[in-house]
């Protein structure tokens, strides 16, 4: 139906409805006796314009109902039976009229349809003629193309054969009795059987015996069901049998085709041995990865850079305190701000790898909202897409591991190590660690003891190179004890060999220990040379003091007889004229004088009183001492040169003892210069000390002697001239004053004694 017609129909329907409603209202308002319901004939006529015949009957039905209602509700002016009869008669006329009008309309439209059918039949006949002409022309063309189609068929067949032979999968075709008709090259390789051998054989040959029955059953079932292709895998494990008897897993797809009543089955097989192996391998890898993640307490995550979405596994979610599928920012929310930047830098989408291996590891702290801080190690690998300038990170896959416990342990170990390192570093003991007769560690103090500058001079050497030969036997014994399980061996005194070849006395404590590299020995060395020196000196001092005490006690006993000897000799000398006798008497006198000197020195030691120290101007002592020797110095042609600093502070010292020191030193110098020379006395401040030097220009002292000049009874002086106690007394006095004395000498150029005394308070 065209749209304007449809519109007209709708308008018509509306008009009919409006009229019907108006008439109904009018009927209600007018008295019952009025035949106004006859007005329903007007819209009824209008409905005959509708293309549908049904509409007229529908309206007639509606008009009947409305008439009935109108009659019922209208105000009654006539007898109701009268009114009902009128209306029933009217309605019967209306229904009859309607029926007639509809019949007439139908007859008219049937006539129009017959005419149209006739016209269509005409057109069909013409088309049939044209078609027959076309068919005739086509038949002629087809006959011309027959040879062309045959060629195409051949080519297609060859192409198919090529595809079959070159296919990666084995293709086998068999007939309904399972006789093989086609066996391609891949099948030859798979089953280790040539096509010539295979064609004509039963399929059973390539199946393990236990599967043959099931296979036959399946194929028959497959032939009956009209499913075109189905995976044989549904049978369960499909196993093939190679020519050499080896079984192998295969994946198979089977199809069938019916040609001239015979069913042909084509099966495509793929050897999945490698794939299964690879799958098993992959499963193994996955399992191992899972175990590794589990064992390492690793949380795994993957960051899609483009979408800015991170997928986290359960552990990673717990570590990062976030859900999965969140943005990188949300994942990093708990990372300590101090560590965040470095981590973001590594994860940044613009991050470009300088090396092909775009892996990174970063340590960071997690600062959780509850204030807890934990250490994490984030390891990740970035994956890139694009090349050159377009290279971008697309994905970052990584793990997060909670290493707080390890960190704490590391921290504790580091602290502990640091403590021990410091302890070892500041230890006043030289510490060596030895393993397998090699020094593997030496601290600074040990290097100092050995006089070494670099650790290499000690580390790596055998301990036997470092210790004096006399100690070797004891060392071996000790090592044997320690390595045999003893933890500590008693402290011993031994000698080490310094790098300059000189031996040094040390106290050695050793302990054994064992670590992962095996048993080792810790050796602590303490320099006891100073102690030894002190002990020696003490022993000597004691000896001297003892001697002094003896001398003191004997002084009287010796003094008087000596005086008698001396006196008698002198008495006789005045009375004899014989020169020989006189010389003899002179010798006696000289010898007594010598004994007297020795005794006096001894007594000086014995009678040394505690010094009475006070602030002392050394200058005065020096000047008075020199003054005292003026005559003797002049006699020996010794020039005195004094360089006494004006501003030199006073010293804390005993005047008498200083006097004695100077007298001894000056005397010494005079003796060193029998042919005259120069005596230089200097005094200057040196830090908190006052330095006093007494130098002569004498013959000097050989190096082997100079070390012993302070030893008691050591003298180089001619027999009878020195007591060997002078410098010992000097050293004793200086050391009592907390000072020091040293001697330097150059043979032929003279000797210099240098004294350092503490400044006076």
């Amino acid at each position: 139906m065209n749209p304007p017609a449809e519109t007209a129909t709708r308008l018509g329907a509306g008009l009919v409805a409006l009229l019907a409603l108006s008439i109904f209202v009018f009927d209600l308002l007018t008295p019952l006796g009025w035949a106004d319901w006859l007005l329903y004939f007007i819209p009824l006529v209008l409905t005959l314009q509708s293309p549908r015949d049904r509409d007229a009957y529908n309206f007639a039905a509606v008009a009947t109902v409305l008439t009935a209602l109108g009659g019922y509700f209208s105000p009654g002016d006539v007898h109701p039976a009268m009114a009902v009869m009128n209306r029933v008669l009217g309605l019967a006329v209306m229904w009859g009229l309607t029926w007639m009008m509809v019949r007439q309309k139908q007859s008219r439209s049937q006539l129009v349809g017959a005419r149209a059918a006739q016209a269509q039949a005409e057109a069909g006949r013409e088309a049939a003629v044209a078609a027959r002409e076309l068919a005739e022309a086509s038949a002629t063309g087809a006959m011309h193309r027959e040879s062309q189609v045959a060629r195409d068929l051949l080519l297609s067949s060859l192409r198919l054969d090529g595809i079959v032979q070159s296919a990666m999968d084995a293709i086998i075709t068999s007939d309904d009795r399972m006789q093989i008709l086609l066996f391609n090259e891949a099948a030859e390789r798979m089953f280790h059987c040539t096509a010539r051998d295979a064609i004509g054989c039963s399929m059973d040959r390539f199946l393990p015996a236990r599967f043959r029955e099931a296979h036959r059953h399946h194929v028959e079932k497959f032939g009956r069901s009209h499913v075109t292709s189905r995976k044989m895998g549904q049978l369960g494990t499909v196993v093939g049998l190679r020519g050499n008897g080896e079984e192998f897993p295969v994946e198979a797809a089977i199809s069938h085709i019916v040609v001239e009543g015979t069913t042909f089955y084509t099966v495509i097989l793929r050897d999945i041995t490698e794939r299964l192996r690879a799958e098993a391998h992959l499963r193994g890898i996955e399992e191992r990865s899972r175990l590794a993640l589990e064992a390492g307490q690793l949380g795994a995550w993957e960051y899609d850079v483009t979408a800015d979405v991170v997928q986290l596994d359960a552990r990673a979610q717990a570590l990062h305190r976030c859900a999965t599928g969140v943005s990188l920012g949300a994942m990093m929310a708990s990372v300590d701000p101090g560590d965040l930047h470095a981590l973001q830098e590594l994860m940044s989408p613009t991050h470009r790898p300088d090396t092909p291996d775009a892996r990174f590891t970063s340590e960071c702290r997690m600062r959780y909202p509850d204030g807890e801080v934990r250490w994490m190690v984030v390891r990740a690998q970035a994956f890139f897409e694009g090349t050159g300038a377009g290279l971008r990170v697309t994905r970052v896959v990584g793990t997060t591991q909670d290493v707080t416990a390890r960190k704490r342990v590391e921290h504790l170990i580091r602290q502990s190590e640091e403590r021990y390192r410091r302890l070892v570093a500041v230890s006043p003991y030289g510490i060596l660690v030895m393993r397998a007769e090699r020094v593997i560690f030496a601290n600074d103090q040990a290097l100092k003891l050995f006089g070494a500058v670099k650790a290499e001079e000690i580390v790596g050497r055998s301990p036997f190179d470092l210790f004096h030969q006399d100690s070797h036997a004891a060392m071996r014994e000790r090592a044997g004890e320690l390595l045999g399980g003893s933890q500590v061996v008693p402290m011993v005194e031994e000698q080490i060999l310094r790098r300059d070849g000189l031996p040094m006395d040390v106290e050695v404590s050793s302990a054994g220990f064992s670590d992962e590299e095996g048993p080792a020995m810790l050796v602590m060395l303490r320099d006891i040379s100073e102690r030894k020196r002190l002990q020696d000196r003490l022993r000597k001092t004691e000896r001297i003091a003892e001697l002094g005490t003896v001398a003191s006690g004997m002084a009287h006993e010796i003094g008087t007889p000596m005086n008698v000897i001396l006196g008698r000799a002198e008495y006789l000398m005045d009375r004899v004229t014989d020169e020989t006798v006189k010389r003899g008497l002179q010798t006696i006198v000289a010898q007594v004088e010598r004994i007297t000197r020795v005794m006096n020195q001894l007594l000086a030691v014995a009678r040394r009183k505690p010094p009475e120290r006070g602030s002392l101007a050394l200058r005065e002592v020096i000047e008075s001492s020199v003054e005292m020797f003026q005559e003797r110095l002049a006699k020996n042609r010794v020039q005195v040169e004094m360089q006494l600093e004006e501003a030199c502070p006073k010293v804390q010292a005993d005047a008498d003892q200083m006097n004695q020191v100077l007298i001894n030193l000056i005397m010494n110098a005079v003796h060193a210069m029998p042919d005259g020379g120069q005596l230089r006395i200097g005094m200057a401040q040196a830090d908190s000390m006052v330095k006093l030097t007494v130098a002569d220009t004498g013959s000097g002292i050989p190096p082997e002697v100079i070390a012993r000049v302070f030893d008691p009874f050591f003298t180089t002086k001619e027999f009878g001239k020195g007591t060997g106690l002078g410098l010992t007394v000097v050293k004793g006095i200086i050391e009592e004053h907390h000072g020091s004395i040293s001697a330097e000498s150059l043979e032929g150029q003279g000797t210099t004694f240098t004294i350092l005394l503490p400044k006076g308070g």
Binding site: H556, G559, Y571
Partner: protein
């Protein structure tokens, strides 16, 4: 005691030493008296104060007190003390106790003689005292 000669009392517990000293001083022309210990010397000085006392101090009834006692009974008599290997302290004590001179043994006789001579000369100038030694104590 020989009149006119200066009297010198030599005190030492060692006979050889005494003998030596006497021999040495004899030539100087002194009247020599000897004592072997402090008590004998004290008795001698009590009986007659000599012109000079030359004495050791290490013997019975000796020591620094002995010098004090001598000085008490002979205030102006020179006392020369000798002692074997005496040190400064002894010297100081002795001199403080009243000794006129101090020598540490062994002493050269020449030095001793000149000292004695000097002291007697000085003593004579300041007024001679007569020594009345009645006996020589051993």
């Amino acid at each position: 005691m020989i009149e006119g000669k200066p009297a010198v009392l030599v005190v030492d517990d060692d006979g050889e030493m005494r003998s030596l000293l006497c021999d040495s001083l004899w030539r100087e022309g002194y009247a020599l008296h000897e004592a072997g210990d402090g008590e004998a010397a004290f008795q001698l000085v009590l009986s007659a104060v000599p012109n000079l006392i030359l004495t050791e101090i290490r013997f019975d009834a000796g020591g620094v007190d002995y010098i004090n006692r001598l000085r008490a009974i002979a205030p102006s008599c020179p006392i020369v003390v000798m002692t074997a290997f005496g040190d400064e302290q002894v010297r100081m004590k002795v001199l403080r106790a009243g000794a006129t001179a101090y020598f540490s043994k062994p002493v050269h006789l020449a030095e001793l003689r000149s000292c004695v001579r000097q002291l007697i000369r000085e003593e004579n100038r300041s007024g001679p005292q007569h020594v009345a030694a009645t006996e020589v104590a051993r």
